[in-house]
């Protein structure tokens, strides 16, 4: 047991965890400051047009806005730990409940998007790496540059125009939960996930390619070849399998990036996820929701990055000691 505790991996994980917590604390402060830096009176905006002075002071003290700001911050922290992120200014729903309601939609979009990205990027990246320097490599590289340069909302709109409006094969918007209506879930998720996935594929192809190239130039591959193993065997067994782990970690990073970047895609497809929630909340100045959603997304981002770092270190001893 003690051996496990002092194992370099455990120490590394502990260090990374601590570091993540520090960053998370910073995120909490930033998110809190964000909302309280806002000009304009959130209580007035929440109450709308006609209200009485009593209603105003009631909401103000209920929201705790009449307490000193430091006290408000710790109050917020305390409730956040118990899962209470306040209530929406727009409709009074608890923020935590709303966030949890919207999470599945965004998560499924992210996961399917990543899946599509991997299905495209893995073969393309490997192919491109193995044919390095040749025309086919150049073609793949330029194509992936195309994917990176295209605005995702534009791509989404064009896909809708082609596959949904003109051809009528797929729905133009909306979401169905997987467990309730699997066929509907699939039909509705295709276009948005494609939009997300194609762009992510473009980014990942480059990473896959360079990961494979790096592995291919490593010593043991050359040794394997010199041992007389047929080239194809060498390729698959050593190159690809060894490149797979950094690729998996890149997948994790991409997933995190997608979670933050789905806002625009969710708006285009009227996707009821976290991204669209944040967008609507920003438009309506619904500060508790903005605060909660930003916190959740940033935390998810951090957690995924943490997992990725740990995975990476577990496999690559050199990183651990850094």
């Amino acid at each position: 047991m003690t051996a496990a505790l002092t194992h370099p991996i455990t120490r590394f994980i502990a260090r990374r965890l601590l570091y993540s917590l520090v960053v998370l604390a910073g995120v909490l402060v930033a998110v809190f400051a964000l909302v309280h830096l806002v000009p304009g009176d959130p209580v007035r905006i929440a109450l709308g047009t006609r209200y009485s002075p009593e209603a105003y002071s009631a909401l103000r003290s209920a929201s705790g806005l009449d307490r000193p700001i430091v006290e408000q911050f710790f109050g917020y922290l305390a409730s956040a730990f118990t899962g209470d992120l306040g209530v929406s200014f727009r409709n009074g729903d608890p923020v935590t409940v709303t966030l949890l309601e919207r999470l599945p939609a965004t998560v499924s979009l992210g996961v399917v998007g990543i899946f599509i990205a991997m299905v495209i990027a893995l073969p393309a990246g490997i192919f491109s790496a193995l044919r390095e320097g040749r025309i086919s490599d150049a073609i793949v590289r330029i194509t992936s540059q195309f994917g990176v340069s295209i605005p995702d909302f534009w791509l989404g709109i064009l896909l809708i125009a082609l596959f949904a409006t003109t051809l009528g094969w797929l729905p133009t918007s909306g979401y169905r939960p997987l467990l309730e209506d699997p066929a509907g879930w699939l039909r509705h998720i295709v276009l948005p996930a494609l939009t997300v996935g194609l762009v992510a594929a473009a980014i990942m192809t480059r990473y896959v390619r360079s990961a494979v190239l790096e592995v291919a130039s490593m010593g043991y591959v050359r040794t394997a070849r010199s041992k007389g193993l047929p080239p194809r065997v060498v390729t698959f067994r050593h190159t690809v399998r060894n490149a797979l782990v950094p690729v998996l970690t890149i997948t994790g990073i991409q997933l995190a990036t997608i979670l933050g970047g789905v806002i625009v895609v969710e708006v285009v497809f009227a996707w009821p996820g976290l991204g669209r929630l944040v967008y609507n909340a920003v438009a309506a100045r619904d500060y508790p929701v903005i605060q909660g959603a930003v916190l959740l997304i940033a935390t998810l981002f951090l957690v995924i990055n943490l997992i990725v770092d740990v995975l990476y270190a577990v496999v690559d001893p050199r990183i651990r000691l850094a």
Partner: protein, 293 residues
Amino acid sequence: MSTLTGESTRVASWRLLLRNPVTVVSAAVLGVVVVVAVVANWITPFGVNDVDVPNALRAPSGEHWFGTDELGRDVFSRVLVAMQASMRVAVVSVAFAVVVGVMVGVIAGYRGGWVDTVFMRVVDVMFAFPVLLLALAVVAILGPGTTTTILAIGIVYTPIFARVARASTLSVRVEPYVQMSRAMGTGSLYILGRHIVPNIAGPLIVQTSLSLAFAILSEAALSFLGLGIQPPQPSLGRMIFDSQGFVTMAWWMAVFPGATIFVIVLAFNLVGDGLRDVLDPKQRTMIEARSQR
């Protein structure tokens, strides 16, 4: 540093760059884009906000190269001016990010110690936020508009420059001539200006090109969401948003603004790639080696 053939570094860089046809073409495209952006206001065939409702939704023609939108405005003119606005936002915001980010990164890398730790932790917190989310948050505080967009994008891209600058500074800091200068007691500012900054320029230039590409995409996304450049000022993102209701009736409203964004961003990315090939020592040696064969 000298190449195998002994020429000075700078000249060889240009020649290597020019060898890559993709980079050359992209740079040429960028050149055209910049020129157009600068003179946009003078070359628009129609007024940007000249409403002409009877001529709404006309297909591209000799008179309206990119067709007209739902209010009869000339899409070509609007694309030109919108391009100018996008470039302006991108350049100013990235300039902001470069100045602030490099300062933070160089100081952190050079000084080390707790200065480094504090600066980099703040940078890490900023990295904890996905790009668009952070930009949205800034806009939520300051309200939509061009200035806010510039500020938001600038803030969002500062961390990457800080990191790149710091990493480069760290590696340059241990170079012999820098160590010697410090030993001789030369002032820090002088060392920074004379030795460090010029030598970290390579990766920074590459990052600038790439960040410009992403800044244009970010501005387009913010404008698409209605949080960036406000109507009636044309913006590429907003034009795409407005085109949504008309995609099947007036494809030109969606296609031309989107294609414009695509071309500009692609050009920046390809030029950035080409620059990286040349300015990144590792890559460069391989290319030079290959070109000797």
